[in-house]
Amino acid sequence: MSTATTIAKPVMPAKHYLNDNYGIRSWLLTKDHKRIAILYLVSITFFFFLGGLFAALIRLELLTPQGDLFQSDTYNKLFSMHGINMVFFFLVPSIPATIGNFVLPLMVGAKDLAFPKINLLSWYIYMAGAFFSLATMVSGGVDTGWTFYTPLSSGYLRTHVALMAVGIIMAGFSSIFTGLNFIVTVHRMRAPGLTWGRLPLFVWSNYATSLIMVLATPVLAITLTLLALERVFHIGVFDPKYGGDPVLFQHMFWFYSHPAVYIMILPGMGVISELITCFSRKRVFGYSFVAFSSIAIAVFGFLVWAHHMFVAGISQYSAMIFSLLSMAVAIPSAVKVFNWTATMYKGSITLMTPMLYALGFIGLFTIGGLTGIMLAALGLDVHVHDTYFVIAHFHYVMVGGMVTAYMGGLHFWWPKITGRMYPEAPAKLAALITFIGFNLTFFPQFILGYLGMPRRYHSYPEEFQVLNVLSSAGASVLAIGFILPLIYFLWSLRYGEIAGDNPWGATGLEWQTTSPPPTHNFHEVPVVTEEPYAYGEETVISGH
């Protein structure tokens, strides 16, 4: 393990977690958090592209005002399955289950997560849920929308809603176990000298995410269970025909699903903190503020769910309270954005691919977050609720934010995970293509939404066509931007340059071990004596 100079050419370590053991059984019965992370990586990549395929079909249909490519029912299934797959089977697990699983124990200097067998179990539960989801798709899919509003989903649709609900519940339990594991690991397994105030911000973010996972997901489980029971037994929990209340479903659903969006974005924010500091060679500006803002987002996130229901029939006074609280929840995110920008001030910046994604995140998340404030403003929400404005908003934060951060993190930790570098030039190109494609796809949708085009429409009035065509054109560019990394990442497994322990010269315990790391993570137990992001002493990047 060398810590300096450009002289030594990096070599792969002889034994590491990938070649320690061969065979299917050693992978499917592994307790190594790093291998489990790879298992998750393969699974969620599959669902990302599956969801992406549905998106492509949606945008294809929306090229023309008439609903001429698919039948109405088919289109309804397409957007439902796009949403369900993307939210529950890609976004919620994404960073925590892949990068988090791999890197978090390394970052805290532990040999593994607190409960390795439960970690493996969580992947199996996820796969079981995925199986149910695929089974539902194969037998026709659901057309409820990812939001499953009643009484439509409880009494009027003939698709396999209960089956899908089971799949989602299982994916939910998988995330509960991941979160549980992270919480206990961060509390109990930090290396000597690693106090809370020295933790990397990626750990803080995932810790806050885990808190939300553990507290909010069970409510989704019970809500979907009640929905399934209602469908099968016609009880009257949410269906007014039998005395139930459909607005209660919305309250219970959004009580999980709003915190869920913070489950999706917080890990991304953690990644950005790591990237900005490394590629500015600077400690983060306002460490405590960034750390506590993650916790603040987690706490406030539980208090704002009914801002999805302003026109659903809630009282005006409730609406005002939720609007006020929703303004409050945006402030910690704003604080983060300012802190990241300030971190770059007087830094020493290079624009490697991970940094490009990080900068893209800051810009796009800012737009997405601010349009969220627009939606939280009652007077405007009445007009734009359930229109393409909302779709544009959440794609800005989810794709422009979360997926961008995910890509940045993948590129950043790819050398640590595989021992090889990805090719920098194609990567930069892909980042640029993604950025352009993304904005071209989703910016027109803000305008479409204000014009009044509702969500989930597969045919629309003619005057909306130009913007829809722009959006679909952008989608094809965006698709290329996502396919390219798939190709060059796979290419790099065989032909990528050997990375060495610390190709970026980054701080962080994960960079103090080999790339790829040994199965038990560290040859010697690390002891921490310095602050995080101590870039004060220059470390020359080897070979780059």
Binding site: S72, D143, G145, Y149, P151, L152, Y156, L157, P240, K241, P246, V247, S280, R283, G286, A312, M320, S323, M327, A328, I331, A334, V335, F338, T341, A342, M344, Y345, K346, G347, S348, T350, L351, L359, I362, G363, T366, I367, L370, T371, I373, M374, A376, A377, G379, L380, V382, H383, Y450, L451, G452, P454, R456, Y457, E462, E463, Q465, V466, L467, Y535
Partner: protein
């Protein structure tokens, strides 16, 4: 393909301009902060790009800056909140003299009824220049009544009346969308709102075939289901007198006071046990399945008509709001002696 590239829908109601102004302000704030961050980043990556011999300055932070950039966004968001809340209050609360129209949404069409009895499917004619309040309900799943040109929207729920109001300004034809996903033909549940100048509107009303006003239809229905035998104006009536009821407070048997609004009337017809008027027995049978949504609307309109006719409630024992407490035991006794429970479909499966 049309090459129109509009950015705003037409402004066709009094509130549309206010919403647009608010929107513009929000867009400005968003653009300002997004540009600020983007330009700062752009500046920093150029100015502080990695150069040999130059090291980054390890700045710890600045509590003052943190406070500044917490307080300022908080302040701006509070302005946004207040402006939005005030505008919302205006959007949600109709003035008293609004023209009342009723709408029923069902998969996948809209049915409207004007007070004069005129019915429309998927089209809604309204006069310009005066407030119009549309009371809506769904027959099946949740729909949504959305008119972009007016900037109004409300989810339309089953089992509960909601309303939306607007004052149209410009005559013309505007899109009406259902914007809550409601199944197969959700995208086809499109209608239009036709705004006519008041004279044209009156002409249109006269030209249509109406079976009589909504309220007279309601009166027929009311008598047809035999409710007149219970809800009478005299002191021996089994049910409260409905004259002057609509819009007034009612005291219930558990001492709560509620307002007799559309939802109260609908609930009392479909689920009479839920709220029993003080001094009366829970003997009213339910009319679930007997009266349709349109029928319920007609009865409600009839009751509103009754209130409008009599400006003061009759000074009468059976008027709910007029019961004196010391009279209650006497009335209860009389009722017990006279009342036999009505025959009901209880014993058969």
């Amino acid at each position: 393909m049309q090459f129109k590239l509009p950015l705003f829908p037409e402004q066709a109601s009094t509130v549309a301009g206010q919403v647009d102004a608010f929107y513009l302000f929000l867009v400005l704030v968003t653009t300002f902060f997004s540009l600020l961050i983007a330009l700062l980043i752009l500046f920093f990556i150029i100015r502080y790009r990695r150069r040999p011999g130059q090291e980054a300055e390890q700045i710890h932070g600045s509590t003052l800056l943190e406070i500044v950039w917490t307080v300022i966004p908080l302040g701006i968001s509070m302005v946004i909140f207040v402006w939005g809340a005030v505008l919302y209050y205006h959007i949600e609360n109709p003035p008293k003299n609004a023209l009342e129209i009723y709408g029923v949404g069902k998969q996948w069409m809209w049915k409207f009824q004007h007070p004069g009895g005129q019915r429309e499917i998927n089209t809604l004619h309204v006069p310009s220049g005066r407030p119009v309040k549309v009371t809506l309900i769904s027959q099946d799943v949740i729909h949504d009544f959305f008119v972009p040109a007016f900037r109004v929207k409300t989810d339309v729920l089953p089992n509960r009346y909601v309303y939306s109001w607007f004052t149209p300004t410009a005559p013309g034809s505007y899109h009406l969308f259902c914007s809550q996903y409601c199944g197969t033909k959700h995208s086809a549940m499109i209608g239009e709102v036709v705004v006519l100048k008041p004279d044209d509107y009156a002409a249109w009303l006269a030209s249509g075939k109406a079976e009589g006003s909504l309220s007279s239809m309601g009166e027929n229905l009311f008598q047809g289901v035999g409710r007149v035998t219970c809800h009478r104006a005299d002191s021996g009536a089994r049910g409260p007198n409905l004259l002057g009821l609509y819009g007034r407070p009612v005291r219930l048997s558990d001492n709560r006071v509620v307002i007799a609004d559309d939802n109260y009337i609908r609930e009392s017809i479909l689920n009479p046990n839920a709220k029993i008027v003080a001094g009366f027995q829970p003997i009213m049978p339910t009319f679930q399945g007997v009266v349709s949504e349109e029928g319920l609307i007609q009865i409600t309109e009839y009751l509103k008509h009754l209130s409008a006719q009599e400006s003061e409630p009759l000074n009468n024992r059976s008027t709910p709001t007029e019961l004196r407490d010391n009279e209650v035991p006497t009335i209860q006794q009389e009722l017990q002696q006279r009342n036999q429970p009505a025959p009901t479909p209880g014993k058969q499966p």
